[in-house]
Amino acid sequence: MRYIRLWLSLMRLSFRGAPVLTAVTLAVSVLDVFVVAGYAIAARHLVDTTVTGPASVAGLVALGVAVAFALTMVTRDMLFNLVGTVADRVGRLELNPRLHVAIAGIDGLEHLERQEYLDRVTVLRGAAGSLMRGCWGVVATVCGIGKLVVTVSLLGSVSPWMLALLAFAFAPILADARGQAAVARAEVRSAEDYRLQQDLFDLQVRPASGKELRLYGNGDRVARAQAEAWDHAVSQRVRARLAAGAWRFAGWAVFTLAFTGALALVVRQVEAGAGTIGQLVLTVTIAATLQQSAQAVVTTATDTAGVRRYVEPYLWLQDYVAEQRQEPAGTTPMPSRLDAGVAVEGVTYTYPGTTTPAVRHVDATFPAGTVTAIVGEYGSGKSTLVKLLCRFYRPGAGRVTVDGQDIAGIAMAGYRQGIAATFQDFGRFAVDYRTGVAVGDLPAFDDDDRVGSAIEAADAAGVVAALPDGVRTQLGKDLGGVELSEGQWQRTALARSSMRDAPVILVLDEPTASLDALSEQVVFERYASRSRRLASQNGAVTVIVSHRFSTVSTADQILVMHDGEIVERGTHTELIRLGGRYAEMFELQARGYENKEKKK
């Protein structure tokens, strides 16, 4: 039932996106059913008029038969081109953007972080064309069944007994459906292996991974692992197809035997003088036609079976998006300046599929106009806390407030507009340099001054100066552009996050991990002054996550996290005096910079 609704909705989409092409394709599909029947009828007429005469009429009918057959060739070829292109076009132009907006528009991150969800969205990202082909495959299957029914019904004119063949026509249809279900199951089962071999192939041919494979000389091993995964996937798929082939043959064998019996009936009728040879020719022609359309149905059905692999994720996405929409969306606007600040009140969050909370019972305030640093070893929950501030997750318990108001009640778009953030695993977008920065604030996308000062703020002017075409330089070597070094990418991401000019929450997650010492200092100073400016301008709070104690020591407050809890909090001086975890880690790093004689 859901499948029917799915195919109908895709067909509606096709009509909306390419009305003419879709209508023509559907029309030709239906026409094909009748063209085939028409040819069979014409063939019977030809034989009959040849016997009854006159010759001139028979000649005309012969011409008609040629035209009717030519039409079957034309419709077949047209369908091949039309179905391919309409599926391709609607898939790429209509379904693809809808899929991507749906995936990218989900407010949370869970679908990108949980294995079973990520699996599905990864499959879907390139599935638009296949889904549309699946939709047309269903049309082809329905038309194929229609052809079977129409042509066999034609035989009813020879003898009403022939209509009994209709019952036998279900043998191949049902047997095929059964076989195809097995194929579809095998496709789903082997999807993981298949994707693994794709990933392993990519490792072998992409330059970044290629250098390590060369160095460790493990290309052979990766190739072997790839071949194993491929074989594993393919052998399952071949086995399923063989089984489907056996079913198919069984179905058609039953039908052929019944059909031969019917043919014998016609022969007897003709020999008894009760029928014409034309009827005999009609019967045989229909048998031949059926065989050809059976082939066509099977070819498309095999495609459709492959498509089922995409259907489940697609339906899942629909449900998931619907479910997300059902959650009460906030409506209050995000304040454009903070008076009190941001507060985390008794927040606990456990990642779905895990049992240990990543953060538990965390209470913290981020007063307006202050800088807070969060430190801790990895796995301590500091990134999770930051993500909760960005509303990527909903707390399992407790709440996050902005000026006393639960952020769940604030409209998401406005809330996010109020944030400027840079993350440890920032995006590396292979576009021209300017675009990579300017997307940091879409309303200011065309503002060259803003882009320029964002680049300045991230100390990236030097990066741009070294690019062959300045800010217009395409990034990414495999797109014919320039490859940036890790530090240069990081500065690009920092520039991007500097685009927004009036955020009230600034998030910096390991902002300088890959920067050189001088850059780090420049960026640090510029960000510090930006924080101060925004703090006095609109009471903005800044949250820095860092392993570098040099970048956190000047913060107004420091939160030390361990195992999902805040274990120490205070200013740098207070924490050093406390002599706890923070002091210990700080000492460890500071020792490297001690300004005294080199140690032994």
Partner: protein, 622 residues
């Protein structure tokens, strides 16, 4: 004509990857399927003949059918059953055949890339576009692969056998009849084949636009980028952007397909022209008594078979696509051919030195006035650089972002060839060394080290076989045990979210995996350890432990450490500073601090805030 033959031969040759048995089976089944229409034509002719001659007489055979009609009837059923049998079996076999051919093809492509003499050839944009074209992975739903091409070719040839047979059936009735039917049928096929070739060309032209679209296809499902795109509200914007690329890339193809659909009248005409005269002739002959209904039925059946068998457009597209892939593959092979160029003599693998003679010793690598620029660019990344690395020395390389440190590492590994100057390993030019032997003496962590979508164990040991006590020692050298403890299935846990039971690690955990990988290489005899920013994402404690162990290698293994955390290079035997493509400062920490140059400036920049604190006062500028 020869072009077609050459094309066919090249495609068919790929069937050697399938093996003789399956090839024979596929060919036999396809030929049987192709002979079916002729068989039916004959059976029909015989049946009509039998019925015609016995018309009006009550049948005497079983089921009231005359004995004369019985044989053709049984033949008819047999032909059908055989045909269905062939078709049912040929589908799975064809799938297997295509998979095997494509598997071998993909392995060849990977091999080609692996054997490319230098990495810059692989990095080249054209190379990557070609690889994408020939990767023969229908992930975008296209079936343009050598396997598809080869099987399309087999189908077309089997069809040709069927056509000849059908033509023979026609010729029995009149010798010229096949010519009347075949000429327009062949022309029709030729036109459709041309169309398939043009379509394939359009598909190739769309490749580069599709790669630009891929940037956003990937961004949608990337968790890291996903955080940014959400904060920035980019969902609609990046989709629009992707769509623009897709539309631009494919519009020519779609326009051409529109024309094809409108062009179908030519096919209508050609089929009518081919079939009508023959039908007309046999019909008139049957009508005036000089021919027979049996002949008419046979000619109708065999004539239409000729058109059908000359191959569907499907086969033509598969052939054109497979052929295009093989052509590009040949160009790619030419491009990546492992012979030397650029003024260097031909490389003699392993000349002068063998791996075994080298193992155990700590190599000394000397850069002699080495310059390097990336192909197609103007800027010299390295400019007459002189440097000696290794020999048990604990060397640190520092410099600003983009100063060429990572490039230097790639040159050291022999992944690039210098534009000018040379690199010597223990006095022998690196270009003359067997790359495999040289690389086995190195343990390297690149900044963008590989995240294998395999188990943790494989991630650590892939280069060096199964776990053994060397692994145990390597494990004890890094904090990896802590990572293992957190994994659901320990060492066997796949490190990829897209695998069943797989998990992804954090940046810091991945760095520990990479460190263990490098440490294992040292345990197995690598004597130069190169670490490019190995601890950027590690927490303080783990980082400190890592450097303590690194210091312990002194005297047994040379090391080259690249980092921006200058506290960690302080204890190096020697620190060199790379700027403007050359080494501008060299010495130990104290010497460089006394020199008061760029290094001192960088060190002070980082130390400053710590110093403020160490002196007891609250740091910062408030």
């Amino acid at each position: 004509m020869t072009r077609y033959v050459r094309r066919a031969v090249r495609l068919l040759r790929t069937l050697s990857d399938l093996g003789p048995g399956p090839t024979a089976a596929v060919v036999a089944l396809l030929v049987v399927a192709a002979l079916m229409p002729s068989g039916l034509a004959v059976a029909l002719g015989l049946l009509v003949n039998a019925v015609e001659s016995s018309a009006g007489t009550q049948g005497s055979g079983p089921a009231g059918v005359s004995a004369a009609a019985m044989l053709p009837l049984v033949g008819f059923a047999a032909v059908y059953l055989l045909g269905y049998f062939a078709e049912s079996l040929v589908g799975p076999l064809e799938y297997l055949a295509v998979s095997r051919v494509d598997r071998a093809h993909r392995a060849r492509v990977a091999q080609m890339v692996a054997e490319a003499p230098t990495l810059d050839l692989v990095e080249d944009a054209d190379t990557q576009r070609m690889i994408r074209e020939v990767e023969a992975d229908p992930r975008m739903g296209f079936d343009r692969t050598p396997g598809q091409g080869a099987l399309g070719q087999v189908r077309a040839l089997a069809g040709l056998v069927g056509v000849l047979c059908a033509a023979a059936v026609l010729a029995v009735h009149a010798w010229w009849l096949p010519l009347v039917v075949l000429a327009p049928a062949t022309l029709n096929r030729f036109l459709r084949n041309q169309q398939a070739v043009v379509i394939t060309r359009h598909w190739q032209a769309a490749m580069s636009g599709e790669m630009h679209a891929d940037v956003w296809r990937r961004a949608t499902v990337d968790a890291g980028a996903g955080k940014e795109t959400r904060v920035l509200g980019l969902a609609q914007w990046m989709t629009d952007r992707m769509q623009r690329h897709i539309r631009e890339a494919n519009t020519p193809l779609w326009r051409y397909v529109n024309r094809l659909v409108l062009d179908e009248w030519s096919q209508l005409l050609l089929v009518v022209v081919g079939l009508a005269p023959a039908l007309l002739l046999v019909t008139l002959a049957a009508a005036d008594g000089s021919g027979s209904l049996a002949v008419q039925a046979t000619v109708l059946s065999a004539g239409t078979a000729v058109f059908q068998l000359l191959g569907s457009s499907g086969a033509a597209h598969r052939i054109a696509g497979g052929d295009a892939v093989l052509t590009t593959t040949a160009k790619l092979a030419e491009r990546l051919r492992p012979t030397d160029g650029g003024g260097h003599g031909p490389r003699v693998p392993g000349r002068g030195l063998t791996a075994s003679a080298l193992s155990g010793a700590m190599p000394v690598v000397t850069f002699e006035r080495v310059s390097f620029r990336y192909p197609g660019t103007e800027r010299l990344v390295l400019d007459s650089l002189d440097l000696t690395v290794g020999g048990g020395e604990n060397l640190a390389l520092v410099g600003l972002n983009g100063s060429g440190k990572s490039t230097l590492v790639k040159l050291l590994c022999g992944l690039y060839r210098p534009t000018a100057g040379r690199i010597l390993v223990d006095g022998t030019d690196l270009a003359d060394l067997d790359p495999g032997a040289w690389r086995s003496r190195l343990a390297v962590i690149f900044q963008d080290f590989v995240h294998y979508p395999l188990s943790l164990a494989d991630n650590v040991t892939l280069g060096h076989g199964t776990p053994d006590e060397a692994l145990g020692r390597a494990v004890s050298q890094t904090g990896i045990a802590r990572v293992v403890d957190r994994l659901p299935d320990g060492w066997r846990t796949p490190l990829s979210r897209s695998r069943d039971g797989g998990v992804d690690l954090s940046g810091g955990q991945w760095q520990q995996v990479a460190l263990t990988r490098a440490w294992l290489a040292v345990e197995r005899g690598a004597r130069l350890l190169v670490l490019d920013e190995p601890t950027a994402h590690l927490d303080v404690r783990t980082e400190a432990e890592t450097y303590e162990r690194l210091a312990g290698l002194r005297g047994t293994t040379g090391s080259l450490l690249i980092t921006h955390r200058l506290a960690t290079v302080r204890s190096a035997d020697r620190i060199v500073l790379l700027e403007h493509g050359a080494i501008v400062e060299s010495g130990d920490h104290d010497a460089l601090m006394r020199l008061d140059g760029r290094y001192a400036e960088m060190f002070r920049a980082q130390a400053q805030r710590f110093e403020n604190d160490l002196s007891g006062s609250r740091g910062g500028t408030e």
